[in-house]
C-alpha cells in the first residue's frame, strides 16, 4: 500500500503504550453481548503474554450509556468515573486499560474536561469524598484494550496457530475493520492513526495475515448511537445506518468484520438478521451473513482457542464458513453445549439468513 498525503499526516497520531501493569476496566454490556471476549483478553495478556493486569470486582459501569442518553448529568458521570479511578489508585495501579469504547471516550473526556476546568475536578473530588470517602489519582495512561492487543500483535502472530488466509485459495482473507466512534473521533490524538486512519484493528489484521478492505462508508457509525437505538421510534434510523454500511461493503465481498466496540459487533451482527427478514437480503456467500468478531475473538481464533469457548455460538451470523476458510477445527455438535457440557438450547432459525 502506498502511504501518501493525509495518510502520512495521520500516521503521526501515535501513542506510547506502557508494557505492563494495567488496571482493567470491564464493559457493562460486552459481558452480556460477547461474554468470552473479556475473559480471553485477560487470558491472552496475563497467561500468554505474562502481563500484570488487575481485574477488580468492585468497579461498576462508567455511566456512559445513561450519560449519552441524557438521563444523567455530566457531573454524575464524572463522579462514577472518579470512583473507578479511586479503586484503581487503591489497587496501586497508574495505567488504565478500558474494555469499552464508550468508557474509553468518557474517561478521556473527563480527564480533558478536568484539565480545562480544574475547579470542576475539585468539585468531583468533593462529591466522591461525600459519597463514599474515597480519593483518587488521575491515571498516567488511559488505553483501550484493543491498543494493548495492537501493541502485542506481533507477539500474538509469533504464537499464532492459524493465519487469516483462505486455505482453499491461498489468498489473504478480506476483512472489514470497524472502529468504534468514541475511539478517536472525539480525541484523535488518543488513538493510533487518529480519527481518519485509525490503524489499531487494521494493524492486527495485517499482522495476522489478512487483508483490509477499504470501502466508501468505512468510517460511518455502526448505527448504535445511544439515542437512536434505545428510543424505539428512532430504531429505524439505527437500522438504516447499518444497512448503509452493508450496502457499501457488499461489492468487496468481505469474509469477516472485526470491531473494537461493544455496540458495533452487536448491531452489525444482529441487524443482518433484521435486514434479511425485512428485505430478504443476505451479505455473505450462499445465503450466510458476514461474521462479525471482536478483536479478542479474532485473536483467540488465530491463537487456536476453541471457537465455542470463545463464545462464537452467541453470534447471530453463523461463523462456520469463516472457520472453514481459515481451517480451524471445531466440533459442530459442541456448538450449543455450555459449561460442563450442558445443553444451552438452540435458537430459532431465521427465515432468510442461513444459520446452523
Amino acid at each position: 500500500m502506498i502511504h501518501q498525503g493525509k495518510k502520512v499526516i495521520w500516521s503521526d497520531y501515535q501513542k506510547e503504550i506502557p508494557d505492563d501493569h494495567w488496571f482493567y476496566a470491564r464493559s457493562c454490556i460486552r459481558q452480556n453481548f460477547f461474554p468470552a471476549s473479556e475473559k480471553y483478553f485477560l487470558k491472552i495478556t496475563k497467561e500468554l503474554l505474562g502481563k500484570a493486569i488487575c481485574d477488580n470486582e468492585h468497579h461498576t459501569t462508567c455511566g456512559g450509556i445513561a450519560y449519552h442518553s441524557d438521563t444523567i448529568p455530566q457531573e454524575t458521570a464524572m463522579t462514577i468515573i472518579a470512583r473507578q479511578f479511586a479503586i484503581m489508585t487503591e489497587a496501586g495501579y497508574e495505567n488504565l486499560v478500558v474494555s469499552c469504547i464508550t468508557s474509553f471516550g468518557n474517561y478521556n473526556e473527563t480527564i480533558e474536561t478536568w484539565r480545562e476546568f480544574p475547579e470542576l475536578e475539585a468539585k468531583i473530588r468533593e462529591n466522591l469524598w461525600k459519597a463514599c470517602r474515597r480519593e483518587f489519582k488521575i491515571p498516567k495512561y488511559v488505553a483501550h484494550a484493543s491498543d494493548l492487543i495492537y501493541r502485542f500483535r506481533n507477539e500474538i502472530a509469533e504464537k499464532a496457530r492459524y493465519n487469516l488466509i483462505d486455505r482453499h485459495t491461498g489468498q489473504p482473507l478480506k476483512i472489514v475493520e470497524h472502529i468504534g466512534c468514541h475511539y478517536s473521533k472525539m480525541f484523535p490524538h488518543k488513538g493510533f492513526g487518529g480519527a481518519e486512519y485509525p490503524c489499531v484493528l487494521s494493524g492486527m489484521v495485517e499482522s495476522w495475515g489478512g487483508q483490509i478492505i477499504d470501502y466508501p462508508e468505512r468510517r460511518h457509525c455502526c448505527g448504535y448511537g445511544f439515542r437512536q437505538y434505545h428510543v424505539k421510534a428512532n430504531r429505524g434510523y439505527s437500522l438504516s445506518n447499518t444497512y448503509k454500511k452493508f450496502e457499501s461493503m457488499e461489492p468487496y465481498h468481505p469474509d469477516a468484520i472485526i470491531t473494537n466496540c461493544p455496540g458495533c459487533p452487536y448491531f452489525l451482527d444482529r441487524w443482518q438478521y433484521v435486514i434479511s427478514e425485512q428485505t430478504g437480503k443476505t451479505y455473505g456467500q450462499n445465503g450466510y451473513g458476514i461474521p462479525v468478531l471482536t478483536y479478542e475473538e479474532l485473536a483467540g481464533l488465530v491463537l487456536g482457542y476453541d471457537p465455542w469457548d470463545l463464545g462464537l455460538q452467541i453470534h447471530q451470523v453463523a461463523v462456520e464458513p469463516l472457520l472453514d476458510k481459515i481451517g480451524i477445527e471445531y466440533d459442530p455438535e459442541a456448538k450449543y453445549l455450555g459449561v460442563n457440557k450442558e445443553d444451552i438450547l438452540r435458537p430459532e432459525l431465521p427465515t432468510n439468513l442461513k444459520c446452523h
Binding site: K232, G236, S240, T279, T351
Partner: protein, 110 residues
C-alpha cells in the same frame, strides 16, 4: 415479513451519477436561461402560493438537477409572474414553468 415495529428508512443520499437528467436537459435546450439560476430564492420568497403549496421555482430547478419529478409542484403554480419580476438574473421564470409544463404534456407525464 416480521414486523419489528421499525424499518429501514429510505436513504436521503443523492447519487448525482445515477440521477436521470433527461427532463433538465430538455428544459435547458428550450430555456437556456435555466442555467443562469443562482438559487437565491427570490422567486420562492415572492411566490404567492409557496406558503400554502410548497411551490418554488428554485426548488423545481434543484429537483430537476437531481433527477426528481416536479409535476406536483408545477400543478401549484398560478402563473402570476411575480417571480419573473424579482429575479436578479432576469430569468423569465414564468416562461420557464410554462416550457416545463409543455415538456410534461409532450412526454405524457402529467
Amino acid at each position: 415479513m416480521i414486523d419489528f415495529g421499525f424499518k429501514i428508512n429510505p436513504s436521503s443520499t443523492l447519487d448525482l451519477d445515477k440521477a436521470d437528467l433527461t427532463l433538465y436537459n430538455k428544459l435547458v435546450r428550450m430555456e437556456p436561461e435555466a442555467r443562469m439560476c443562482m438559487a437565491c430564492g427570490s422567486c420562492s420568497a415572492t411566490c404567492m402560493s409557496a406558503e400554502y403549496s410548497g411551490m418554488s421555482v428554485r426548488k423545481v430547478l434543484l429537483a430537476l438537477q437531481r433527477g426528481k419529478d416536479v409535476s406536483m409542484m408545477l400543478s401549484n403554480c398560478m402563473l402570476c409572474g411575480k417571480c419573473t419580476m424579482v429575479c436578479p438574473r432576469g430569468i423569465n421564470t414564468r416562461h420557464l414553468i410554462l416550457s416545463l409544463c409543455r415538456i410534461y404534456d409532450k412526454e405524457g407525464l402529467k
